[in-house]
Subunit: 341 residues, 4 copies
């Protein structure tokens, strides 16, 4: 069935499968110590313009968030995030399971506001009882956010400056980072992210890989013995080259950026079509996720012909749904959807 | 110095110290298996009108909350609480340290609203993604709340009914329970609490004991091997009779209720005096904690002569402060405070 | 370089890669709800002769152990394992990170002894202080063990009976299960394991898959909301069909058993060759891992031409090393090794 | 009934109760910020000959061990202890509940051997797989041990030197420290302990206090924001002066040492009597705990007249039992016991 359910409905870009085939019978050592991981690291460092970056490959987003956040926080610290942040809502308490609180800020179309972050940090230290409270020990952003929205360069600069003024790391969840970087409406580059964040990950699972996320520490805060921490979190792949070969391929000849741009092109085509058909957007994003407000009958009718995601029920007669494009979406998929709509 | 800083500024009611003296050289077995603990349990069961109650003695509030909540929740569950609940704010992440999320509801003068609780529970199960989220596994109330406010009998009934409809335990933090029960403005009795809650604690530390909280499971949900869980939380007192003798004394001849009523009488005297002097209440509660809105100069002047608590800074010129009475407050204290004001 | 370093030096059996290619562009729903996972589950249930089995796919061994053990244990319980068990030594404290103790028994070539298990369980409950101790809440076996050794059917029966008498689950780590089942020297079948254990996993990573382990609960003890627990452990794959397609292929036409048998055949060839060359075995196992005692000079010489694993240093002049065969080992590899030796 | 069950069968030394009476109505600020805590800290620092020591008061032993160990360890580290150490056996998994493994060494009458510790640390770093293992991050000793035995000054020096060579803290559990310091057979003083250990606690609960343990960091490794960590562990007493007044009293005019010596004198009297009566010692210790090997009939007969502790069952006809003296044991108690025996 035609599907816009999410950006991980298909396997991997064919060039990746091809490389996995080619390298399949080469005996390789485990745990990320193979030459493909090393080559992928070098290519990513170049793309980041950050030669000192420490890079590790994990297999999924929740796992990556929980492992990195636990590794960066001290025992008495929590992580500041938007109340709609993935770690706040849809990770089944994975952060709390490692012993740390998620300290929430109000979301603004999925983003946190620099001013509100500043306030939270300042008022924490002004509070005479703060030693009885969870210390804000780092900041979590998702970019794109869970609503497909983006921070501007100015916003990211400001948030980064606040974190540095308070000497706490800024961590960016880049599960869909390619779609942010290739948006028609962004002024943030990958080197900007490496410069302004202390840790982040470049998502593979949602951007053309079978599985895998590339965790980057930009050189200031790599946790001591991070490999052991990764192992302790059950996140150390025996066949470390599985993400290694994939990221090596994604960062060869700009594949990561090309396929991300393709998804954006498809999203723009989708938005255009939806506007022409007069659909009501709940939130029209500059990336690959679009949120529509549909009448419940329409939802029932559509879901027989196309897969999409339930988002929320704002009232008794309407539903917010999400349509996502991805590296695997084709022009034909969009055309077919337009016929159905 | 004269102090209204909180309700735990003095040692213990003298009758308690007397009993500790009298029993001091009796060899007793440890961990709560002594006759004083057993006698205290019997007296508490009678006061609760709940002969099947299981009762344990722990030493402090945060410890009790963390131990009981961890014991009652399954691994995939969190606890629902007001965003101003003690566990949400002032326990340094003790709940999260046991692996569980605190799921917050908006506070209304410290209370949660039954309707909002119902909504949260219902919408959780309606959400198609709820298996990726933290399950609401129990409800936490504080009574009195952190603002000294009280639930009504009708509110508690309604919250209890919602919990039972969803088959999750209702837990009440009674750190200051005596002051709730003896308020001039309450319709809730101790047997009501035993009937409507599944677990709660009767606070000793803030109501006349040196230390100690009596945890009550009303017979439906005592966690298996709770003693071992208490030990694992570092909360099992070797000299278990230390809280045992204290609670035995507090529940002999109604001492717990008398000294609680005394604190309430002192609070009413305090409120009357403050009104007469024209002070602005930030929140005037029916229990022993009163919150005033003072100009910062006034705060500076007062704190040289009397101890009270900083609460929050609503704007650049004012501060909210708390004055608390307790079992140890005297009429002379109130009179002296009135002279200072 | 020629490698006998471990059994995860190569990618995946080509039939698996072929299936991943074929299904690559089929839009599939996530988190294990796709038809390939369902088909794999059905085929595994048939192979187990256990139609009521609940089956989940995770991505790696340590992750699987930590998730399953945490899910099966109550808060006051620990897991009993051999002191050389993988969870006791080489998982970086992943079990303890979930809050549970590993209670160790002496190993006998990697195995626990039924009699010693019985003793541990009985003496625990006889100990008057046991409420202050960690309760033995389940038993962990690895089969093959970390030394490549195997339990006999009689031993597994006996251990299973002891667990059932004490009403605690028996969990078997089958990271290399194929190599146990296809050993020339075993009397245990896959249906035996399903009948005698309460939970176990069928290893994919070390037996021909790119990644993936199939967790089986045989119907008596599937933890409530296990999917949420998997997510909380960061172990829920977005592209759930990645292990699904792999296990579906492995359990089609007996591929899992064929490639396991091939590894065993290669191991027997290896053992024969080593004996002929007069090498000293530290431990000669009936499965795919063989442990040799070598002089240090010999180790230095060999490691220039062939990869193998360091195991331990028994004295100043010798080293124990491990040679492992796998589904990917060829006769040519063995022949080449023999030339080097 | 006459009791030698343990060293916490009675309340507190009367001078302590007296001081609690005298200070009972003084309004004091909470959480250890009162003048009695400060005075107690000064007196302890003087007794330690360690003016830079950081001192905190907690309420019980398991709580103290779990809080200090969790605070001192990094996430990837565990604590090395004797396999009979209190944290290894009788704390219900409190250490593991904080996420850390207890790495055990064989016990020698309750002690660890310096040579075996050195070996463990060295072989850990020599192991090529050590990044997959729990790092030994600190060393735990109990002194006296769980068998009442003592380290010599030379042994403690050696263990301390090993820890310092590996840059890991040495922590000493002094639940019964007074009885070690006042033994007739020791060459270790309190300043020695402050000099050779990095952290330790001076036990109050078992040495004359109602409750309370004084945690000492000797200035090299006090964990950042330890107060918040204490709170997070549920171990921060609201009435911080409760242990403060007690330790202030214990360290005034050498009371702690006098009452400890008294317990030792009583133990020596007990040992003498037991020898005269021809009893078989399972372990005769230089401190206040004595272990006898009794026939089961003798156990049955005795326990009707005197309380003591079950220790273990070495065979079907005998039981090892413990008799403990304490600050509260009198000559009359010993005489009465001798009559019963």
């Amino acid at each position: 069935m035609l599907s816009f359910e999410n950006d991980y409905i298909c396997g991997a870009h064919e060039r990746i499968l091809q490389r996995l085939m080619e390298t399949n019978r080469e005996p390789l050592t485990g745990y990320g110590n193979d030459p493909y991981c090393e080559s992928a690291r070098e290519k990513i460092r170049a793309a980041l313009n950050c030669p000192e970056a420490d890079i590790y490959f994990l297999s999924g987003g929740t796992q990556t968030n929980a492992t990195v956040i636990d590794a960066l926080l001290d025992k008495y610290e929590g992580v500041v995030a938007a109340d709609t942040g993935h770690i706040s809502t849809h990770e089944a308490g994975a952060i709390e399971a490692t012993g740390h609180k998620v300290l929430t800020l109000p979301q603004h179309e999925g983003r946190i506001a620099a001013g509100e972050l500043k306030s939270l940090l300042e008022s924490f230290y002004q509070d005479e009882n703060h030693e009885h409270m969870v210390f804000p020990g780092m900041v979590y952003l998702s970019h794109p956010t869970e609503y497909g929205t983006l921070y501007t360069h100015a916003e990211l600069e400001e948030i980064s400056a606040i974190c540095r003024a308070h000497d706490i790391p800024l961590y960016l969840d880049g599960a869909r980072l390619g779609y942010a970087l290739m948006s028609y409406h962004t002024d943030i580059t990958l080197p900007d992210i490496a410069r302004l964040c202390d840790a982040f990950y470049i998502g593979g699972t949602k951007v053309g890989a079978l599985c895998g996320e590339a965790v980057v520490f930009t050189g200031h805060c790599t946790p001591k013995h991070f490999l052991t921490i990764v192992k302790q979190h059950g996140a150390l792949l025996a066949k470390g080259w599985l993400p290694g070969v994939q990221f090596d391929t994604l960062f060869t000849d700009g594949l990561y950026f090309q396929i991300s741009r393709h998804a954006i092109d498809m999203a723009e085509l989708l938005k255009k079509g939806l506007h022409e058909k007069g659909y009501t957007f709940y939130l029209e994003s500059p990336t690959n996720q679009q949120f529509l407000l549909l009448r419940d009958e329409e939802v029932e009718r559509l879901k027989k012909q196309v897969a999409f995601s339930f988002w929320e029920k704002p009232d008794a007669e309407h539903t917010v749904v999400r349509f996502a494009t991805s590296w695997s979406t084709t022009k034909e998929d969009i055309a077919q959807l337009m016929q159905i709509l």
